[in-house]
């Protein structure tokens, strides 16, 4: 086939949800990079599973090469398009906080699975036992980070990064489950407000499926 430009062909495959693909979708949109936003229905997952390296989505196809792992994908795209900070050290800072975030997601999982309806359980009890203490620990770090960064609308550095997008999207999800979930973290919320009001991002949030 004929490629009409030097730009690689990108196809991102995930379910019909924001989940672990949303940050990558936002990066494509923010950078003005064309890509195929391939959303598959959960019932059809069996057909696609074996085509992925680790039987998981999202996967990113670049000129037919299939790449797994949402964070590795987001980091890769962010570095390619300039959303990974202005230096290697800033990029490393982002990686460090992203890893902490991943750990936090693991810790709140018992609550999260019930909140999204993937398991049965006592929502209130799990919220108190898993969501709240882990929130206080992780978002405590972020509150300090936002303040130390001068409340400039970003968690690290002075440019929009994939970590900004990661956190803003997660806050949206958690507020849907627990209104006011992050009320004790005003610097985080202020940073989130500025992130989601970035014009090109606002545009995407309004028109996305």
């Amino acid at each position: 086939y004929l490629s009409l430009s030097n730009m690689p062909n990108y196809k991102l495959t995930y379910f019909e949800a924001r989940g672990f693909a949303e940050v990558s979708r936002q990066l494509f949109h923010l950078s003005g990079t064309p890509y195929v936003d391939n959303r598959i229905q959960r019932e059809r997952w069996g057909e696609f599973k074996s085509m992925t390296p680790f039987e998981k989505v999202p996967v990113l196809e670049i000129d037919g090469k299939v790449l797994p792992q949402s964070f590795a994908i987001a980091r890769y795209i962010a570095r390619e398009f300039g959303f990974a900070g202005r230096s290697n050290l800033e990029a490393a800072w982002i990686d460090a906080y992203a890893d902490q975030f991943k750990d936090y997601l693991e810790y709140i999982r018992p609550f999260f699975k019930v909140a999204i309806g993937a398991s049965q359980g006592d929502f209130e009890q799990l919220k108190k036992e898993f969501a709240e203490p882990n929130r206080d620990k992780f978002f405590g770090f972020l509150e300090k980070l936002a303040k130390d960064n001068g409340l400039n609308g970003h968690f690290v550095g002075d440019s929009l990064t994939w970590f900004d997008l990661l956190i803003a999207d997660h806050i949206l999800t958690m507020e849907n489950f627990v209104p006011g979930f992050l009320d004790a973290f005003p610097a985080v919320l202020e940073t989130r407000e500025k992130i989601v009001n970035t014009p090109k991002l606002k545009e995407w949030i309004e028109k996305r499926p």
Binding site: F54, L89, D95, D99
Partner: protein, 206 residues
């Protein structure tokens, strides 16, 4: 002396060793700050996440072992020869972390022989047999004869080789079913400059 880099960690290999190896392989001097438990208790609150290792670069602190390894690897040329290779290095490292977290309880267990055996059968072996076939597949598709990803030494080579050397000391034969992995680990540990470090580094149990 004005050293740019200081690595703060306990006097063990653990989650600091790959960073030390990267400095040594790159020929970059650094302060290898091995601290005591009591020094840690006063330092802890001053670190980003209350955890070690921490890397200080020109006075700025960086935490989280993988972020540190990736940073040093990028600076010194051990992160793969292209952004795509760097991605596969990251992916392999994350798979490795997942496996190590699962197998850790079985490796550190100090109890009855019977309980140890059960942990081996119920935890260690399944964790191994889930991860190492994937690792072999990655090496086949993206690696080369002496490397898990790409054709030059990367931080994930160091990560896996370090783990394998501890594992095999404790459980010889544990990876016999994975000759490709063993061959790559062997090749990595035979890299001259790394071999030099392995011989002269402080001797610690883990």
């Amino acid at each position: 002396s004005m050293l740019r880099y200081k690595l703060i960690y306990f006097p063990i290999r653990g989650r600091g060793e790959v960073a030390r190896q990267l400095f040594y392989l790159a020929g970059v001097p650094f302060k290898d700050d091995r601290i005591t438990i009591s020094e840690w208790s006063s330092l802890k609150a001053k670190t980003p996440f209350g955890q070690l290792p921490v890397l200080e670069v020109d006075g700025h602190q960086l935490a989280q072992s993988f972020a540190i390894f990736r940073y040093l690897a990028q600076e010194f040329g051990f992160a793969g020869d292209s952004p795509l290779e760097a991605l596969w290095v990251d992916v392999t490292a994350d798979q490795h972390k997942e496996y190590e977290n699962k197998i850790k309880p079985a490796l550190r267990f100090q109890g009855s022989e019977e309980e140890k055996e059960q942990l081996m059968r119920n935890v260690a072996e399944p964790a191994r047999d889930k991860y190492f076939p994937l690792l072999e597949k990655i090496a086949e598709e993206h690696g080369s004869s002496g490397h898990f990803v790409g054709a030059s030494l990367t931080w994930v080579d160091l990560l896996i080789a370090e783990h394998a050397s501890i594992l095999l000391k404790q459980f010889p034969g544990f990876l016999d079913r994975y000759p490709t992995v063993l061959a790559i680990v062997d090749a990595i540990l035979s890299t001259p400059k790394l071999k030099e470090w392995l011989e002269k580094r402080p001797d610690t149990a883990f």
